[in-house]
């Protein structure tokens, strides 16, 4: 009778749903429950001894329910547990005589309720010790509470009944496992019980294999030009998944022959093979980890951390069994082939085929497939590049296994063993490497580590045709310099679209393989006179007109805190007296520019330069107005873009980013802000057009269309620049040496840089562009 009564609970709840929630929760944990909507019926169960504990759930706001509890408390105080919605009622209930530990307030709390019920039965289990308050007793109760809590959570976790089936299946497989055998031999029957617990623990912590449904391995991020030409792939693991039907049958057979000959017969684990491995172990007198099926290897690769423990081995088998139940053999093989590591950063068969043979997987020959099948076991040891002899032996072993398994005739076998091993590693070549670096740096700042693994498709702004034109123009310019005896110089070019700031072409140096330093985006160099337009822009904004008169006269300025004086001179060495603003810029007169700067003020000039897009620090000294403060070519070009349009141009290298799920995740659509009054823009354009028609930029007349720009040459011809624009593009060209030594005598911006600019602009398609008479703005 008592045994029956022991774990039985009668429940009464004023609201049925709450009652059901309590009842089901307790039942889930193995408590026998009855649920009544009539309090009398519940009370009778206690009185008759059918239940030991009465759980009452009340809505405290109803007087009549409180009264009901009062009634129960007087008769059944020591077998009453009350759940209620308002924690403040605890005191009221306690006054009625309900034990404080058996009042559970707040929201319905199934776990807490179970813990209290369990504690009730715990007290019932044994007579309370004489002194209840001893620390020992408290500790015991606490531990029991913890256990109850755990038990509840375990019960509530998804009870995948399938686990049990795997378990039984597994145990059968495990009987052949050496460690189990060893334990059994050692005769520890106790251990068997422990083992069962251990196994269960292993299985209860298995990963969710449904993940495979949405499984997408790390994928390379691909960069494309604006016109969809692949520029580069960024990856940690070189990988391109292929469907199984693009993998030739003989290649699949090679893998099966060497890794898992009974693949199509077993159900995830291969007892025969385990037995075989065991036998080998016993003979060798040691413990190796052999005998993994392809399915097990896949489990390991995708779900488990690389460690050699028993736990992992068991999990690996359990997952393998689960995978086989859920997925077809073909799908598992496909996942395996796309997941395996082949060395040389190549993950998956497709990447391996490309890396070792420079071809896609569907064109692999028998011998090639066999070599690839040889690799996953030990990619370095069997690498045809590092250990050709071992690689060949292992490949031939694969072929031999294929023959043994009936996949090959002896003729095919002989032929394949005669094939050569690959000798060169096929790297994927990049186009526009400097630009790719530039984008990568930007992307890394935005996406961090995810970049190389998340398979983004990145459409860049690069225009492949313009990029080719830029590279050709630089080559031609270098050849011309060489013909004049100038060698060892570097050059850079950047072209931005005026309407969007899109970087359409970028060349960061003459030879990426030699130096990856990007002279278009990273190099800080003095712009020389190419800085002057910002001085004149500041002047126009202060009310000067292009035909205002200024003085081209000697001027002496104290620099270095008055310890030195600076007397800017003109390139020709002569001073021209009174000249117009336009003349001064067109002829690039230094003295006139400094005089003008003295009128306009350094602060305004520097402010103007920053406003149009110069980010680098401009030192607040007068030599800065002649371009002594270093800037990058890219920012200079962007600033000229503002001169051309009146709007602030931000260089943009990416057009769109699409993630693996084909969603556009980045799509900059900001309109450039207008920052200059149109009158100032008109004035600057007029003057920069005059530089080309009458000044230092005359070489650009060869283009026979209106272009605008400014030369720049720094002291001793260390830097030669031309920055200019037409109606669509702003383009900057720089020539110089990394050592900052002079380029060569007379190698000014007009002579060294401008021809490259002109050559590039010649290639820019002019359709749709306004072809106006030269010189007219």
């Amino acid at each position: 009778m008592r045994a029956d009564r022991k774990k039985s609970v009668a429940i009464y709840a004023a609201r049925p749903v709450r009652g059901q929630i309590i009842a089901k929760s307790l039942a889930l944990c193995g408590i026998r429950v009855t649920l009544d909507d009539d309090p009398e019926a519940a009370i009778r169960k206690i009185e008759s001894g059918a239940a030991a504990l009465l759980v009452v759930d009340v809505n405290n706001h109803l007087q009549e329910e409180i009264e009901l509890v009062r009634g129960m408390a007087t008769h059944l105080a020591d077998c009453l547990l009350v759940t209620h919605t308002d924690p403040r009622d605890r005191d009221v209930l306690e006054e009625m005589g309900v034990d404080r530990t058996r009042c559970i307030g707040g929201p319905l709390d199934p776990e807490q309720t179970f813990v209290a019920v369990d504690a009730f039965f715990a007290a019932d289990d044994g007579p309370p010790p004489a002194d209840q308050s001893t620390g020992k007793e408290k500790g015991r109760l606490k531990a029991r509470g913890r256990r109850a809590r755990k038990a509840f959570q375990r019960a509530l976790k998804a009870p995948d009944r399938r686990v049990w089936r795997w378990w039984t299946k597994l145990i059968r497989g495990l009987q052949m496992l050496r460690p189990v055998r060893t334990m059994a031999v050692s005769g520890a029957i106790l251990a068997a019980g422990a083992l069962a617990g251990y196994l269960f623990w292993c299985l209860s912590t298995l990963p969710d294999i449904d993940r495979l449904n949405h499984y997408s391995p790390f994928k390379a991020t691909k960069l494309y030009s604006y016109g969809n030409q692949l520029l580069a792939e960024l990856y940690e693991q070189r990988r391109t998944p292929v469907p199984l039907d693009r993998i030739p049958v003989h290649v699949r057979q090679a893998f099966i022959a060497i890794e898992d000959a009974r693949y199509f017969q077993h159900s995830g684990i291969d007892p025969i093979r385990i037995a075989g491995a065991l036998w080998a172990d016993i003979k060798a007198g040691g413990f190796r980890q052999g005998g993994s099926t392809i399915t097990q290897q896949l489990s390991k690769m995708i779900f488990l951390k690389p460690e050699k423990t028993m736990t992992r081995k068991i999990k690996e088998m359990a997952i393998a069994l689960m995978l086989e139940r859920r997925y077809s053999k073909d799908r598992i093989l496909e996942l395996y082939l796309n997941q395996a590591y082949f060395g040389c950063q190549a993950y998956g068969l497709q990447a391996a085929a490309e890396a070792y043979f420079g071809k896609p997987s569907d064109r692999l020959t028998l011998a090639e497939g066999a070599l690839l099948a040889a690799l996953p076991k030990a990619p370095n040891a069997y690498s045809p590049f590092q250990n050709p002899e071992r690689a060949r032996r292992r490949r031939d072993h694969v072929l031999q296994r294929m023959q043994v398994n009936g996949f090959l005739s002896s003729d095919e076998y002989r032929q394949a063993t005669g094939a050569d091993l690959p000798s060169v590693f096929h790297e994927r070549a990049y186009r526009s490497p400097y630009f790719v670096d530039y984008c990568q740096k930007y992307l890394e700042e935005t996406y961090g580590d995810r970049l190389n693994t998340s398979g983004l498709t990145v459409y860049t702004t690069l225009d492949a045709r313009l990029q080719a034109a830029a590279e050709a123009a630089i080559l031609k310019g270098m050849a011309a310099l060489e013909a004049r005896g100038v060698v060892g110089v570097q050059a850079a070019l950047v072209a931005l679209a005026l309407d969007t700031g899109h970087i359409k072409a970028m060349v960061g140096g003459t030879d990426y393989d030699r130096t990856q330093f990007n002279r278009a985006a990273q190099a800080l160099r003095q712009p020389g006179s190419a800085f002057k337009p910002f001085v004149y822009l500041a002047a126009l904004q202060k009310g000067y007109q292009t035909d205002s008169h200024i003085q081209d006269m000697p001027v002496t300025i104290a620099v270095n805190n008055g310890r030195q004086t600076w007397r800017p001179r003109n390139y020709t060495g002569r001073f021209n007296g009174e000249v117009t603003v336009k003349e001064a810029l067109t002829r690039s007169l230094n003295a006139a520019t400094v005089n003008l700067a003295l009128q306009v003020g350094l602060t305004d000039i520097i402010g103007t330069a920053h406003k149009v897009g110069i980010r680098s620090k401009i030192h607040a000294v007068y030599p800065s107005v002649l371009g002594a403060s270093e800037v990058t070519l890219l920012e200079l070009a962007a600033a000229y873009g503002a001169l051309a349009t009146g709007r602030r141009i931000e260089p943009v290298c990416l057009d769109r980013i699409i993630d693996k799920a084909s969603a556009t995740i980045w799509d900059p659509g900001t309109e450039p802000a207008t920052i200059l009054p149109s009158s100032a823009v008109a004035g600057i354009r007029e003057m920069l057009a005059a530089v080309v028609s009458d000044g230092t930029g005359r070489r650009a007349l060869a283009l026979e269309r209106t272009v605008y720009g400014k030369t720049g040459t720094t002291n001793g011809n260390a830097d030669a620049l031309f920055v200019g624009f037409d109606d669509r593009l702003v383009v900057g060209v720089w020539v110089g040496r990394d050592s900052r030594e002079p380029i060569g005598p007379k190698e000014t911006g007009a002579r060294a840089a401008l021809p490259i600019w002109v050559e590039f602009m010649r290639q820019v398609p002019v359709e749709g562009m306004r072809v106006a008479a030269l010189g007219s703005p």
């Binding site: 609201r15 749903v17 709450r18 059901q20 929630i21 089901k24 929760s25 889930l28 809505n59 919605t85 707040g106 929201p107 319905l108 709390d109 199934p110 776990e111 807490q112 959570q153 509530l156 976790k157 998804a158 009870p159 995948d160 009944r161 799920a661 084909s662 969603a663 556009t664 799509d667």
Partner: protein
């Protein structure tokens, strides 16, 4: 209804003892689904819950009969039923009429009840044994409109009784939980976003602890977008069903409208969920995080799961969410849940 006593089993179709094969019925605003045989979903029928009338002429009648189209005649008009109604409306350039609106029988449609029954008749054959239980879905009470669904429920009960069944109602969203979360103790939140409403059920250990509905769904999306871009709702509906992808940026006005309407629906759903769950005494304190299952035709566009999950992130729920998943077959999930109830009952 007593799903509290239900036991979920992984078994599927089975015709036991005297009863015929089990059927699960979902009578929705847009579609009526009769689910049979859980293994392959073969034998499951789905009919549009719609009709289209044409004048009764001997000729027309003959064509319909030849084509085996289902219809009935009333007041000298032929009422073409179900999927055929939509085909004819398309061919003849009209719009179908609906016996139900916002999830409930539309009392403004005079012939509504008769139409639904005519569509249901062939889907629900007379039972092999009289009194065989038949589970059918009923919507939850719309927020602020308590009791509105009772009339609805009683109409179908009467009809099913008349056909010889013992009708058993199950909440539409609860049926989704049963169908999709049966191996997780039927614990989680089921949401069915249909044509006329969204039904929500918080289920704990297969107890439908909190159920409610909001009267917004696919039709609401079609109508609001149609109004805002000045196109007929039928056109919007077609575009929505065939092209909408919520995971990519909208490409035109209609798509912009659809995105906005979805966002609005999802946001109000998430907001109501937080409010209703917070306000309920039936939501227990739980340590584990719960799955949310989305079903119903309205969740079919790609990206809807992610969007809804994002909306959930904006509200403060009293339970933790483990994951938001889509039902295996969103159009069938409710009927399948009803079917599983029948199978479970059959076995116990």
């Amino acid at each position: 209804m007593a799903p509290g006593s239900m036991t979920t089993r992984r078994k599927t179709a089975r015709s036991s003892g005297g009863g015929g094969p089990s059927i699960g019925l979902d009578i929705g605003t847009a579609n009526i689904v009769a689910y049979r045989n859980g293994q392959s979903e073969k034998g499951t029928q789905m009919e549009a819950n719609a009709f289209f009338t044409v004048p009764s002429m001997p000729n027309t009648r003959k064509i319909l009969e030849d084509k085996a189209v289902r219809f009935f005649e009333k007041d000298e008009r032929l009422h073409i039923l179900g999927n055929a109604a939509e085909e004819f409306a398309n061919i003849l350039g009209g719009t179908t009429r609906r016996p139900m609106e916002d999830g409930l029988v539309n009392l403004k449609e005079d012939d509504g009840i008769q139409v639904i029954q005519a569509i249901l008749d062939p889907m629900v054959p007379e039972p092999a044994q009289k009194g065989q239980p038949l589970w059918f879905s009923v919507p939850g009470d719309p927020l602020d409109r308590n009791g509105a669904v009772l009339f609805n429920e009683s109409i179908f009960k009467t009809y099913l009784k008349g056909r010889g069944y013992t009708p058993r109602p199950i909440n539409e969203a609860m049926a989704v939980v049963v169908s999709e979360l049966s191996d997780q103790h039927a614990t989680g939140i089921g949401i069915s976003m249909g044509g006329g409403m969204c039904n929500i059920c918080f289920s704990y250990l297969s107890i439908p602890a909190v159920t409610y509905s909001i009267q917004k769904g696919g039709d609401f999306i079609d109508q609001t977008v149609g109004r805002s871009v000045g196109e007929p709702a039928t056109k919007i509906k077609a575009i929505k069903e065939q092209e909408l992808d919520l995971s990519v940026a909208p490409r035109n006005n209609i798509e912009h409208g659809l995105h906005a309407a979805y966002d609005d629906l999802f946001a109000s759903l998430a907001e109501s969920l937080a409010r209703v769950l917070r306000g309920s005494d039936n939501v227990p304190r739980l340590n584990q995080a719960l799955p949310i299952v989305l079903s119903g035709g309205t969740v079919l566009p790609p990206g809807s799961r992610e969007r809804f999950a994002a909306c959930l992130g904006e509200v403060d729920l009293p339970v933790r969410v483990a994951k938001v998943v889509q039902a295996r077959n969103p159009l069938y999930a409710t009927a399948k849940g009803a079917y599983m109830m029948a199978v479970a009952e059959d076995e116990s």
